[in-house]
C-alpha cells in the first residue's frame, strides 16, 4: 500500500539527508508519480544500506544484520529474504514495527567506528563467501561468532519502560503515526512498579477510536476489547483468539496494486499489534505466534497468486494451532497421565486449560483421584476450573490460597500451568504459583509444571519485578458486611493497591516440566529453544 511505503519514506527523511538518489525518489513520490515495483525494491535496498551505516547498539539481532550484509554482498539472494528478517520482531513482547523508529535514533559518535569495523568484516566475509556457494544461511552463522564486540544490546520492550519519558514519547509518536489510540495509565502506581503500565478496565482503549475504524480491522478491535475487559484470558485462549482474528484479517485482505503481499501484509499487521499491546501487553505465546505468522507471510514467494497465498496462510495458521496447541495438549496429557496414580490427591491452582484437560482425560481413563482447587483473589479463576471439573464428575475441594498450609498435608501432587517458560529455567505463571511451589517444597510434595513448547521464550528474569503486568487496582476493593474500606483509596495520599498478574517461580521449586517433547527438568528450557531454532 502506498501509505505504508510513504511512512517508511517519511522516516528515512528524518534520518538521512545524504543520498541523492533517495531524494530523487522522494521527489518523484511527492510529485504523485507511481513508483514501480522495481523502484520500490531499489528504494528498500538503499534504505537498508543507510540504516546499516546509521544504526548502532539497538536494532535487530546480529544474525539479521549479518544476513542483511550478506544480501548486500550477494545480490543474487532474493530481495524478499531481507525484509522478512528485518521485519521479524526481536524481543517477544515488543511491537515489531519499531525498526523505522529505530532509524530515528542515531548515535553519530560511534558511527565511524562501526563503519570501519563493518568494512573489515565485509572483507572477511567476502573471502568466506568466495569459498561457499552464494548467500547461504550458514554463512551468516559463522561471522556471528567473530565480532563479539558488535553484539547488539537487545532493544528493551516498550511496556517495561513506562518510567522513561523519552520512551513514552517515542511510543506516542509511533502510535500516532499508526493511528492507534494511546491508553493512559490509571491511579497511583506503587513506586516499585513505576516502570510498568497500569490501566483501568473502565477506560477501554476503544473510546478514542472512531467508528468505523479506518486503520484497524474490526475483528482486531473486538479482540482488543475482549483482552482488555478480561473476557478472553489465559495464554492458550488468547493465542488461539489472536490467530483466528488474523485469519479473518487475511481473508479480508486484498493486495493493493504494485505491492507484494508478503511485504505489505506484514506492514499491515504492525498497527494491529500495537493496538493489541495497548489493550493488554502481549503474552509470550502471542509473541511467538506473531513471529511465526510474519515469517510465514514473508516466505510466500512473490509469484504466488493472491488467492493461493491467502489459502496457504490460512492453512499455516490452522496447522500451527493444531500442532502447537491441540496436539501438544494431547501429547502432554499422555505423559502426564502416567504420573497420576489411583488414590492421588492432586492440587491445582487457578484455571489452566491444559491442566484441566489433563485431569479430564485422566478421569476418562478411569484413574481414581480427587482434586483440590486453590483459588485467589481478586481474579477467582479457580471457580471456573471448579465448574469444569465438577461437570466432568471429578471430586473436588475448594480453598483459598491463604489456607494452603492447612490443605497441603493431604496433597500428593501439585499440577501447575505456565504462562511462559523463561530461558534461565524460571516459570512465569499466574501470581500465586510461586507461593504454591514454595509451600509444596516445604512439605515435600512434588510440583509438576505443564507447558507447551510454543510458550518457551528467550527472555530471562529473576524476580517478579523486572517484567510484569499490573492489572486494574480497583479489583482489590471488596465490600464485606456492608463496609468497603478501600472505597476511596484514590483520595488517600499514601495508599496504593497492587494487583500483579504474573510471578516467576525459581527452578528449584519445580520438580518436572511436562512438554510435548517429553518430560524435562526446568533447566533444560534453553536446550529446547536451541533445538527449535536450529530446526527452523
Amino acid at each position: 500500500m502506498a501509505d505504508s511505503d510513504g511512512r517508511q519514506v517519511v522516516s528515512i527523511n528524518h534520518s538521512t539527508e545524504e543520498d541523492v538518489k533517495l531524494q530523487e525518489v522522494v521527489q518523484a513520490k511527492c510529485e504523485g508519480k507511481e513508483l514501480t515495483k522495481e523502484e520500490k525494491q531499489r528504494l528498500r535496498k538503499e534504505k537498508k544500506q543507510h540504516k546499516k551505516n546509521k544504526k548502532d547498539d539497538r536494532g535487530p539481532p546480529e544474525k539479521e544484520k549479518e544476513k542483511e550484509k550478506a544480501s548486500v554482498l550477494a545480490p543474487s539472494k532474493p530481495a524478499t529474504q531481507s525484509p522478512a528478517h528485518k521485519a521479524a520482531p526481536v524481543p517477544v513482547n515488543a511491537s515489531a514495527s519499531e525498526s523505522p523508529v529505530a532509524a530515528e535514533k542515531p548515535a553519530k559518535s560511534k558511527a565511524e567506528q562501526r563503519a570501519e569495523r563493518r568494512a573489515r568484516q565485509d572483507t572477511e566475509r567476502a573471502s568466506k563467501q568466495g569459498k561457499k556457494e552464494g548467500g547461504q544461511q550458514s554463512a551468516s552463522s559463522k561471522p556471528k561468532a567473530t565480532p563479539n564486540e558488535l553484539q547488539p544490546v537487545k532493544r528493551l520492550p516498550e511496556h517495561i519502560q513506562v518510567d522513561d519519558p523519552a520512551a513514552l514519547k517515542k511510543l506516542a509518536k509511533k502510535l500516532e503515526r499508526q493511528q492507534v489510540p494511546l491508553r493512559s495509565d490509571y491511579g497511583y502506581k506503587v513506586s516499585l512498579f513505576s516502570h510498568l503500565h497500569q490501566y483501568s478496565r473502565k477506560n477501554p482503549p476503544t473510546q478514542q477510536i472512531s467508528i468505523p475504524a479506518t486503520v484497524i480491522h474490526p475483528s482486531i478491535v473486538r479482540l482488543g476489547l475482549q483482552y482488555s475487559q478480561g473476557i478472553i484470558a489465559g495464554s492458550n485462549a488468547r493465542s488461539v483468539a489472536l490467530l483466528h482474528a488474523f485469519k479473518q484479517v487475511i481473508q479480508d485482505y486484498s493486495t493493493p496494486p504494485n505491492e507484494e503481499l508478503s511485504r505489505d501484509l506484514v506492514n499491515k499487521l504492525s498497527p494491529y499489534i500495537s493496538f493489541l499491546s495497548q489493550c493488554r501487553p502481549l503474552s509470550a505465546s502471542m509473541g511467538n505466534a506473531i513471529k511465526y505468522i510474519k515469517k510465514e507471510i514473508s516466505n510466500i514467494p512473490s509469484q504466488c497468486k493472491e488467492e493461493e497465498a491467502k489459502r496457504r496462510l490460512q492453512e499455516c495458521i490452522d496447522s500451527y494451532i493444531n500442532e502447537k496447541i491441540i496436539l501438544a495438549s494431547e501429547a502432554i496429557s499422555k505423559y502426564a497421565i502416567e504420573k497420576i496414580s489411583d488414590g492421588d490427591v492432586i492440587l491445582v491452582y487457578g484455571c489452566s486449560s491444559l491442566v484441566n484437560h489433563i485431569l479430564c482425560e485422566a478421569f476418562e481413563k478411569q484413574r481414581k483421584f480427587r482434586v483440590i482447587v486453590v483459588d485467589s483473589r481478586p481474579r477467582l479463576e479457580g471457580r471456573e476450573a471448579l465448574r469444569r471439573l465438577v461437570k466432568k464428575g471429578i471430586r473436588c475441594t475448594y480453598v483459598l490460597i491463604s489456607a494452603l498450609s492447612y490443605i497441603l498435608p493431604e496433597v500428593s501432587k501439585v499440577f501447575l500451568g505456565a504462562h511462559a517458560l523463561l530461558a534461565n529455567g524460571y516459570v512465569m505463571s499466574r501470581v500465586g504459583t510461586s507461593q504454591i511451589a514454595l509451600v509444596a517444597k516445604a512439605y515435600n510434595v512434588p510440583v509438576l509444571v505443564c507447558c507447551e513448547t510454543y510458550k518457551f521464550c528467550e527472555r530471562v528474569q529473576t524476580d517478579s519485578f523486572e517484567s510484569n503486568e499490573l492489572d486494574d487496582p480497583d479489583d482489590l476493593i471488596v465490600t464485606r458486611n456492608g463496609k468497603t474500606h478501600l472505597e476511596n483509596w484514590q483520595t488517600v495520599k499514601s495508599l496504593g493497591l497492587l494487583n500483579l498478574v504474573y510471578d516467576v517461580t525459581p527452578p528449584d521449586f519445580v520438580d518436572l516440566v511436562i512438554t510435548d517433547l517429553g518430560m524435562i527438568p526446568c533447566t533444560s528450557v534453553p536446550v529446547v529453544l536451541r533445538v527449535k531454532n536450529v530446526d527452523q
Partner: protein, 396 residues
C-alpha cells in the same frame, strides 16, 4: 412439736418480727425492684449474672476471624471478672478459691475454645493465688519450683494439703496482685510500641498480614520519627488487611495493599516481616491468622527476619499436636458463596481461620517484657504459669 409448744407464747412476737422484716424487705423491693431473697445471696446472683453475660459474649464474638474486640480487651475483662469472683464468692481457704476459679475457668474456655487469652488469664490468677498463699505461709516460691522433681519423688501428694490453711489477709493480697496484673495488661501495647524504634529504620520496606492492633501501634509509633514503607497482605477471605491499611494511612505511612497470592512475588524487596498472632504456643510456635505460614516460609526463603509482636498474655501452655482442637473453621460461605449454585453441593469448601507457624521460621518475639528468641519461650512460660495449671480440665 415440743419446740412449737415452747415458743407458742412468743410465737406471735416472732411472727410479728418476721412480718416487720418482710415489710421492710417489701419496701426495699418497691424501691430497688430486686426479687425478695436473703441479703447475702444478692452478691452471688449478681456475680453469676455477670459470668453468664461474659460467657454469652464470648460465644457470640467467635463468629468471624477478626473478633469483635481484640484479645487485650478479652484479657482485661477476664481478669476483672476473676477479681470480682475472688472478692464476692464464698471461700474459706486458697484451695476452695482455686476450685471456684478453675470451675469458672473451665466454663469460660469451653464457651470459646479458640480464645486462649481467657484460659491464660485464669492460669495467671491461679499462679498468683499459689504465690500469695506461699508468701503468707512464709515459704518462698522459688525453692518450691526448684525441688519440684525431687518433691514428686519423695513426698507424693503432700502438696494437696498445702492449700487448706486459712489466712486472713489472703483475699486482700490476691486482689492486690490481680490489680497489678490488670495494670500490666493495660500497659502491654505501649510497652511493645516503645521498642519500635529499635527495630525499624528509615527507608525500610516492612510486610505484615491481616490486622493486628499490636502491630498497628508498633508501626505508628515508629512512624512518628522515621519514614518507611509498609506492604499489607489483605488476608482473604475476611480482608482485615484493608482496615489495617486505611488505619496506617491516617498516620501518613506509605502503605500498599497486595492480595495474598502476591506475597512471594514481592518478598524479594521486603526488609522485615512484622506480624501479630492470636496465640503463642508452648514450643515457641504460633497460632496465627491463615496465610501466616506461607508468609513465614517466603521470609525464610529470602532470609528476611520475621518478628512477632505478641504481649505476654497471649502465651499459652498448649502444644500444637492436637490436630482436632488446633484448627477452627468458619462457614465456607466466605470462600464459595451460595451464589455459585449447583456446584456447591458437589464440592467441599474449607475455611480455616488459623495457621500453625513452627518456631524455626520465627526470628524474634517482641513482648511487653522485651525481645526474646523463640527458644526462650519455655522459660517465660514457667515464670507465668504453674505446671499443675496447664491442664484446666484435669485440675485438682
Amino acid at each position: 412439736m415440743t419446740r412449737r409448744r415452747f415458743l407458742s407464747g412468743s410465737a406471735s412476737v416472732q411472727a410479728f418480727r418476721r412480718l416487720d422484716q418482710l415489710t421492710i424487705l417489701a419496701r426495699n423491693q418497691r424501691f430497688t425492684e430486686t426479687p425478695v431473697k436473703m441479703p447475702g445471696a444478692d452478691k452471688e446472683t449478681d456475680l453469676s449474672e455477670r459470668i453468664e453475660s461474659f460467657l454469652s459474649e464470648l460465644k457470640r464474638c467467635g463468629s468471624g476471624a477478626g473478633s469483635l474486640r481484640g484479645s487485650a480487651e478479652t484479657a482485661r475483662e477476664t481478669t476483672a471478672l476473676l477479681r470480682r469472683i475472688t472478692a464476692q464468692a464464698r471461700w474459706g481457704n486458697a484451695g476452695e478459691l482455686m476450685e471456684i476459679i478453675r470451675k469458672e475457668g473451665r466454663r469460660m474456655t469451653a464457651a470459646q475454645p479458640s480464645e486462649t487469652t481467657v484460659g491464660n488469664m485464669v492460669r495467671r490468677v491461679l499462679k498468683i493465688i499459689r504465690e500469695e498463699y506461699a508468701r503468707s505461709r512464709g515459704s518462698s516460691e522459688e525453692t518450691d519450683q526448684q525441688e519440684s522433681l525431687h518433691k514428686l519423688l519423695t513426698s507424693g501428694g503432700s502438696s494437696e494439703d498445702n492449700f487448706r490453711q486459712h489466712f486472713a489477709h489472703l483475699k486482700a493480697n490476691v486482689i492486690e496482685a490481680i490489680n497489678e496484673l490488670l495494670t500490666e495488661l493495660e500497659g502491654t501495647t505501649d510497652n511493645i510500641s516503645m521498642q519500635a524504634l529499635e527495630h525499624i529504620h528509615s527507608n525500610e520496606v516492612i510486610m505484615t498480614i491481616g490486622r493486628s492492633r499490636t502491630v498497628e501501634a508498633f508501626l505508628k509509633d515508629a512512624a512518628r520519627k522515621r519514614k518507611f514503607h509498609v506492604i499489607v497482605a489483605e488476608c482473604a477471605p475476611f480482608c482485615q488487611g484493608h482496615e489495617m491499611a486505611t488505619s496506617l494511612c491516617k498516620e501518613d505511612i506509605e502503605t500498599t495493599v497486595i492480595p495474598d497470592a502476591a506475597i512471594f512475588a514481592v518478598m524479594s524487596r521486603v526488609n522485615k516481616v512484622i506480624i501479630g498472632t492470636q496465640t503463642v504456643l508452648a514450643n515457641g510456635g504460633l497460632r496465627a491468622v491463615n496465610g501466616t505460614h506461607t508468609l513465614a516460609l517466603a521470609a525464610k526463603h529470602h532470609s528476611t527476619p520475621l518478628i512477632v509482636c505478641a504481649p505476654m498474655f497471649k502465651l499459652s501452655p498448649q502444644f500444637p499436636n492436637e490436630e482436632d482442637t488446633f484448627h477452627k473453621f468458619v462457614s465456607p460461605h466466605e470462600v464459595l458463596p451460595f451464589t455459585e449454585g449447583e456446584i456447591l453441593s458437589k464440592v467441599n469448601a474449607h475455611c480455616p481461620v488459623f495457621d500453625y507457624v513452627p518456631p524455626e521460621l520465627i526470628t524474634l518475639f517482641i513482648s511487653n517484657i522485651g525481645g526474646n528468641a523463640p527458644s526462650y519461650i519455655y522459660r517465660l512460660m514457667s515464670e507465668l504459669y504453674h505446671p499443675e495449671d496447664h491442664e484446666l480440665y484435669t485440675g485438682k
